[in-house]
Symmetry: C2
Subunit: 428 residues, 2 copies
Amino acid sequence: MASPLISYSEAAEQVHLFILALAEESATPAHSASSEIVPLTAAAGRVLAAPIRADRDQPPFPRSTRDGFACRAAEANSHQLLFRAGQVRAGETASGSLGTGEVWEIMTGAPVPDGADAVFMVEHVDKNPGGDKNSDAGQNHDFVRLAATRTIQPGENIVPRAAEARTGDLLIPPGTRLGAAQIALAAQCGYHELTVAPQPRVAILSTGDELVPVESVPGPSQIRNSNTPMLAALVAAAGGIPVVLPAVPDQEDALDAALFHALDADLLLVSGGISAGRFDLVEDALTRMGARFFFGGVAIQPGKPVAFGQLPRLGQTPLPFFALPGNPISGAVTFHLFAAPLLAALGDDTALQPRFALAHLAGNWNGKPGLTRFLPAHCDFDPAPEVRLIPWQGSGDLAAFARSNCLLVIPAEAQELPEGSPIQILLT
Amino acid sequence: MASPLISYSEAAEQVHLFILALAEESATPAHSASSEIVPLTAAAGRVLAAPIRADRDQPPFPRSTRDGFACRAAEANSHQLLFRAGQVRAGETASGSLGTGEVWEIMTGAPVPDGADAVFMVEHVDKNPGGDKNSDAGQNHDFVRLAATRTIQPGENIVPRAAEARTGDLLIPPGTRLGAAQIALAAQCGYHELTVAPQPRVAILSTGDELVPVESVPGPSQIRNSNTPMLAALVAAAGGIPVVLPAVPDQEDALDAALFHALDADLLLVSGGISAGRFDLVEDALTRMGARFFFGGVAIQPGKPVAFGQLPRLGQTPLPFFALPGNPISGAVTFHLFAAPLLAALGDDTALQPRFALAHLAGNWNGKPGLTRFLPAHCDFDPAPEVRLIPWQGSGDLAAFARSNCLLVIPAEAQELPEGSPIQILLT
């Protein structure tokens, strides 16, 4: 491909600009008409399409965060004996309010009675309030007092009503990917089903004369098509629906026909056929379909010959595509860096970023500057993250890739990385 | 609960010891008899139960990693004109071997012809090999030569046969969680279906008088049960099958009956009812069932009153359980720290660790030492990880938790953390 190489950050910016344009488009009413309703229990991993709002104040009452005694802090701090006037458990409402010189025994999660301004913990009760050596713990008595070594502030161990949210507050905006925390919050607000965005349909097209299906016995110069199942797994993990097309040989007619069949997808991933070779026909085929290319090569290793563009479609928005390198590690790396965020955005989650974190480098690295590298590595995450490069034979080495659990990021300008230094990893 | 607090690392070690015992047990033949066979396309996220081996050498032939010219490096480095004797594409076998003074045009992924010891890239061909100013690029000529500015090493751009794997090599051991890389490697080796471990069945039992179902309108002192759907989502994300039991009130009989129903699960998660209060009946109910407790409180925030143990079962191995705190953030934190690794191990993946990574701290923190803290935080992962605490009203504040995407780890001894310092986060 004749396209000049651009830097990793320039390429990421191109994808980001495309996502920003999608975000504007997804705000239109026509767009939101396509949403789906799913049970709360099936919503994990989906993207919210309608806001979650508080159906009442949260907490709905001043909530005790401890087991202990609802009190007036000033009285408790005087360490006087306080009369145990009542009891309120989670799920109950106090049958009265707190009088002078009183406490109410209270459980975690229960509503604090009117008149109380703090809760002292049961562990902080004076164990021997009457001075009687034979008495048991204070909670068996009619009177309790705060232990002499303790004081309590007004408000302590109480979450005021509506401190977390007020009725009607927007708690989860549309476009949020739903995880366990969001599902719990939706449940708290009474949503037993959720309106979610449709999952993008992602056409996967592997190309190459050398490919045979997984079920086949390859000839001496053939290999099984491993990219299609790999990309299908990546698409599904990123929240898309893989639409697997049969692999096509390096023939113009076959490529043209396959691309035509992909036109009703939301995103197209073509694998292979986009290097510098004479039989890398994918760019030509995309060009024949009228493709607009945003980039056609990125200064990264692996994954340099990755292309991003869109194909015109009659009466529809253009189809975005990535032409991914045919070497499997190159394909996976470019998927994570570029395709995954765009895929998420096509499903209305415009906030997904490649997840870069830091870990301590085990061993060291030195090499030539010029390319941003994303190399197969293994991170020991516990008790502190330590990452080590996995020896590999290059971007076709699936055996090495399968031993990795992240990618180690080497900046374009780096010539050596010292042992122990905090270094970026790309979480996969 | 009267149990003494143990440190986070002591608690993690208890779980780890239990997992080591499980790992021994899972090596028995009786255990592996329960495995399942699934199509390769449905294997993502499952745990491999039978080894993946190379069905032939990888690569099966010396593989060119570039589009270019297979050559003898010594001849290429002399910068003589070399005769283009043939061509080999991916999927083809060279029709002959390389003679003296010859090159073969070769494509990425194609087998290197006998006699060649290197491949020089098409981009490194002398563009004007005849010295003719009007000629086009070298690849249209019968002769090519390596550009004068380039040299090539023997072996360059060739992966030797079997460099990645030899026939019969163990490529993926049983117990490996299958992701896209492992699926690609299995495909390469001809596995269109895979033998996987059964997913552990995880009983989820929320307790508390205050709980009403998600579909209900809670009374003034009631709340909807958000822990059950949250834990179900966490269990599913960790590879388990959630077995949701109806929530039970704080009544002995109801608890006993519910625990009895949970006995045929592989793991039990009880939520709520295990703090210091008089109506926290879960510990007593577990004790009535003959529970052995490994720990009953950990010096962490949130999540301190978490218990880990096992229940005896007639004719079966004991049922491991976690009694998780009822506050939802406490429940989620303790799930990630303790329950997720054990759940994975029950599904034969004994390598899962809590994923701690590093990020730069935005803002600063100061507080009392003594507890290892796991606080809701938001990490901006791109272009470099930067994490910020989310203001919260304590471990019941689901609205805050739903704005988080990780947990910030504050070591037990820390009293302040300065802005910008690399700090551990727990990836969720």
